[in-house]
């Protein structure tokens, strides 16, 4: 509100308050005079009741004043605009000269995150938020005021190629892009945009939105008055981190202070509107995981489901008998597991649903290409937030995982052949050792349906590319032809992987030149001289984890005996000394990770190292794949370890098949996948054509429009002989809302008060805000009009009228002389 409006806002009621006083004074001069005989009685009565009468008169006068003031307050907002119009038209006071008539630039930060879909009593938080926001816009003056809408949860659809979200840093970048801004809209456009806004499936990005809002307010011209209105449900999901002691509290306070300071100059204050429900609770499926990164045809698998009861701990919102169901490809629904009893705030993790081999088996027409299965997990009993009552997971069933192995030292002697043991180990498939693979007591045995092709190094140059494989393994290859290096780099950049085993044949200097390239090549480290002893009877060393939480080591980090299977065997005789990248060789975005070390001293020497290259990964092992430099094959360790390596490196289908909302789906097209056209169908059934793009020589399909949760279908379409459109192949991928959006429990103050106190507590006393609450009794007036405020005015009017009526009744009936 402008300063002059404040003047009116206070002046009009003050003038109104004078009216009854003036009337009272006038009435005191307008009386009748009569001669009175029984004066003695009258004087006696007057002396006896004088104090009480004076008090009554004062009270009556105050009541009248209050009634008139209330009426003035009630009708002021409507009259104010008229007064302003009159001043503008009659007195010729335009916006440029009359500061009180300055254009208002309202920055509306609107929370349309997934939690806003919470429903209570037939109304969502989003309904309440939208109603309020529209009323704010309706209260503005067309052709003068303007609105900037900042939506918290838009999905940014990048033009052209987008990046693949793989790291936490990438996720953060992606999240930042989800704040949508519509700047400087006229009233009608703002209204239209707001009316068209729907609940998104992504999370709340409050700090990013506030930063945008602060920027908008900062660039508001000096002569204009900025307004800031934030509409949210104040759910813990988006607000917890900004509360006192939260990691983003500093940003929150700083941004709000800047805005409040700028607005104070124009006489406005930040308005925060709470559209959420105080006693919200929500049971949600928060995560689905699958231990099998690659599921082969005919293998069975298990999914593990996490369920959480999002309610304030101790609130008594304990939920009994939560039943879960599973459905594959829209087939019949079946329950699994025992009913869950979840106390408020409690989670139940790893609820297993076993997917039988028969349920996952490829159909005849899928045997060649593989297929994806859509598994939908649901909570049978629905609650207020339906979007997280079910969650989809897509499993890719592959006929096999093609691996190309380059044997650096072929030999008819199995002990001297460089890849024979590795070939045999990786070729063990679920079909072959099904019984053992599914023995729950043998958790280390995990198999993949690998199909291994082995070639000699001199056949490398004959390969046009390696894109028919998921993984290439170089085993003790002396040097890589220059043309093959380029193709390998292209292969890895496309998202596939390379494993390099060392050995006595390796020309480490050539490797450093051709593959390390001073930190820019495929090799993660610079190679040095071999270490260890060449004596067959020399001491053997054990392996030791250097990064316990690396996915490759995850199966060893459970039970002590599993870890012992990795760290106890003394099997390493020789290894190559390496130098980790230093100085300019270091790529900060793709650091080298040392996964395993040789336990030969206080500081274990690197044994297995990894780094990202393009969109793929490269793992270097400082020893041989054969028994040339070690005695690993005397036990089962290499079977476990190298299966995990292959699993880790070939799981790109799984990685890109289950995404969060807003993440980009990306798929590299191999030669056999290429089709004339491609289309993607979203969960609502809307289909759109998806053009293939080229990235460093690779054909890529990329789709960033993952705005809705659900299952998307990607189809490659080709024209049949009769001219019909045939689906050459199809894949599915699921998009799920982020689990933190399920936490709809409202933030609370340090002493357990409501959101208002929590926000004010987080901001401190120096930043004054106006906090309004949907459906609350203590809604306070803000600087802008709203339905709630009008409701308040109405109540004031009614109260004033009741005062006047009561006063009239008192005068006319109660005190009426008896006849």
């Amino acid at each position: 509100m402008q300063p002059w409006m404040w003047g009116l806002a206070l002046g009009v009621p003050a003038l109104a308050a004078l009216v009854p006083i003036i009337i009272h004074i006038i009435n005191l001069t307008r009386y009748r005079k009569i001669d009175w005989a029984a004066m003695e009685f009258l004087l006696a009565a007057y002396r006896r009741t004088r104090r009480r009468l004076q008090m009554e008169h004062i009270i009556m006068l105050l009541l009248r004043v209050m009634a008139v003031v209330l009426l003035a307050l009630a009708f002021f907002p409507m009259g104010c605009e008229q007064v302003r119009d009159w001043a503008s038209k009659t007195l010729g006071l335009g916006g440029s000269t009359f500061t009180g008539n300055a254009p208002l630039h309202v920055v509306l930060v609107f929370d349309n995150s997934a939690s806003m879909a919470y429903t209570q009593e037939g109304q969502t938080s989003f309904d309440r938020a939208k109603k309020y926001a529209l009323s704010v816009i309706d209260g503005l003056r067309p052709n003068r005021d303007r609105v900037s809408i900042i939506r918290l949860s838009d999905v940014f659809v990048p033009r052209g190629l987008g990046g693949v979200v793989a790291t936490a840093e990438d996720a953060e970048k992606s999240r930042k892009r989800r704040v949508g801004q519509l700047a400087n809209l006229d009233i009608e456009t703002a209204r239209r945009e707001l009316a068209a806004t729907t609940v998104a499936s992504v999370d709340t990005n409050m700090v990013i939105a506030l930063r945008e809002a602060q920027r908008s307010i900062e660039v508001t011209p000096e002569n204009d008055a900025p307004g800031f209105v934030l509409v949210s449900d104040f759910a813990s999901a988006g607000w917890r981190e900004m509360m006192k002691d939260g990691p983003s509290n500093g940003d929150f306070v700083e941004l709000m202070k800047k805005m409040a300071d700028r607005m104070a100059g124009a006489g406005t204050r930040p308005v925060l509107y709470d559209a959420g429900f105080d006693d919200a609770s929500n049971v949600a499926i928060t995560n689905i995981t699958c231990n099998d990164r690659i599921v082969g045809d005919g293998m069975q698998s298990s999914l593990f489901v996490d369920v959480t009861n999002f309610a304030r701990p101790g609130s008594g919102e304990n939920i009994r008998n939560v039943n879960l169901s599973c459905r594959i490809d829209q087939g019949p629904e079946r329950r699994f597991g025992q009913p869950l009893n979840l106390n408020a705030g409690q989670s139940s993790t790893k609820n297993e649903v076993v997917l039988k081999a028969s349920e996952l088996q490829l159909k005849p027409h899928e045997k060649k290409t593989g297929a994806s299965r859509h598994i939908e997990i649901s909570i049978i009993e629905p609650d207020g937030l339906k979007t997280d009552n079910s969650r989809s997971f897509v499993l890719h069933i592959v006929p096999d995982v093609p691996i190309l192995m380059v044997n650096g030292v072929p030999s008819t002697d199995p002990r001297k052949d460089e890849t024979l043991y590795l070939d045999m180990a990786l070729s063990i498939s679920d079909n072959k050792i099904e019984g053992e693979a599914r023995d729950p007591n043998k958790t280390l045995t995990r198999v993949t349906p690998n199909r291994v092709d082995t070639i000699n190094p001199n056949q490398l140059t004959a390969k046009d590319n390696f894109l028919d494989y998921r993984l290439v393994i170089l085993a003790n290859v002396s040097q890589i032809p220059e043309s093959a290096v380029g193709k390998l780099e292209e292969f890895v950049r496309a998202g596939y992987s390379l494993v390099i085993f060392d050995g006595d044949r390796v020309d480490h200097q050539r490797y450093n030149v051709d593959l390390y390239k001073a930190g820019k090549g495929l090799m993660p480290v610079k190679l040095g001289a071999p270490e260890g002893s060449n004596d067959v009877g020399a001491k053997l060393y054990t392996l030791t984890p250097r990064e316990d939480k690396h996915p490759i080591l995850s199966i060893f980090m459970g039970r002590p005996e599993d870890k012992a299977a990795l760290t106890d065997p003394e099997v390493i005789r020789n290894w190559r000394g390496v130098e980790l990248p230093v100085g300019s060789e270091i790529d900060p975005l793709n650091p080298v990770r040392v996964i395993l070390g040789v336990n030969n001293g206080p500081e274990a020497r690197p044994f297995m190292m990894e780094h990202n290259f393009g969109r793929g990964r490269v793992i270097y092992v400082a020893s041989t794949a054969s028994e040339r430099w070690n005695e690993m094959w005397t036990g089962p360790l290499p079977i476990y370890l190298y299966h995990e390596v292959v699993n880790y490196l070939t799981n790109s289908e799984a990685r890109y098949s289950n995404l969060g909302v807003g993440e980009t789906y990306r798929r590299v097209l191999r030669a056999r996948d290429v089709a004339p056209s491609y289309a993607v169908k979203d969960p609502l059934g809307t289909s759109q054509e998806l053009p293939a793009t080229a990235d460093e020589g690779l054909s890529i399909l990329e789709f960033a429009g993952t705005a809705s949760a659900g299952v998307y279908t990607l189809q490659a379409v080709e024209r049949g002989e009769t001219g019909t459109q045939n689906v050459k192949w199809q894949e599915r991928f699921s998009v799920s809302i982020e689990p933190r959006e399920s936490d709809i429990v409202k933030i609370k103050g340090e002493e357990g008060q409501g959101a208002k106190e929590a926000v004010q507590g987080a901001l401190g006393e120096n930043i004054q805000i106006v906090f309004q609450k949907a459906g609350g009794d203590a809604e306070t007036g803000g600087s802008l009009n709203s339905d709630r405020k009008r409701g308040l005015w109405l109540w004031l009017a009614v109260a004033g009228a009741i005062f006047l009526l009561a006063e009239s009744l008192w005068s006319a009936v109660i005190s009426k002389p008896e006849q």
Partner: protein
Amino acid sequence: MAELIGKQYLDPEVLNQIRHLEVTARNVVEGFISGLHKSPYKGFSVEFAQHREYVPGDDLRYLDWKAYGKSDKYYIKEYEEETNFRALIALDTSESMRYQSGTHMSKLEYGRYMAASLAYLIQKQSDAAGLALFDEKLYDFIQPASSHAVLMRMLASLYNHPPQKKTNIGEVLKDVAQRAGRRSLVIVISDLFDSLEHLRVGLEHLHARKHDVLVFNVMDEQELNFTFDRLTQFKGMEGYPQLLVDPRSLREAYLEEVANFTAEARRHCLRNHTDFYQVNSKEPLAIVLQSYLARRTGAR
């Protein structure tokens, strides 16, 4: 001229309605004419009163020979003599009596009509009626007589004196008690707006002189009900100050004061064997007199 002037207070309609009534003395009064009123002078009239023993000198005509035959003692038969009585009407003409509300007459006008009617009635039954007009003192006194000329004088006197000055009822009644002479019926017509202590003293003087006293407390409708409904400045009569108040807010307390005053006045009257009758000047005089006189006659 005086006759013409005063006759306006003899309203034929009123007189027609009360003509069958009688003004009677509740106590014995002294008089000359046999009639309605008991005389303290027991003699030998027609109505037997009592026996008493003969004493030498008694008229032997009244000796009850039948009693002598039965008791062998001499008894004289005494007869009660009925006589005329004297009535003195004391009318308050102070300034407060000037008050009138609405369209009906002022208290003084009402009192004048009342005095004239009673005087007429008393003379009509061959009793003597006199008049005392007073404000802070007794300024006009007409000795009771049963002649028409006295009635005419009384009427002229009622007409001639405008209301003025304050009431001093204590001194006035004391004066009336002294000047009335023989025992009389003293009819006081006043709003009694004076100290009740003064009233008490005055009544005691009258009672000590064996007068039969009747008080008509004449009040205006507004003085009794106080139904004013808007801000009013009350200008006090008889030297009282003025007061600007909202009468609605004071009504309850005012009525309480009036009720207390009336009760106290009634109590003083009862203690002095005085009839107290509060009259609303809005009420028709004929009905007031009818109801009061009929009740008084019945109580005789």
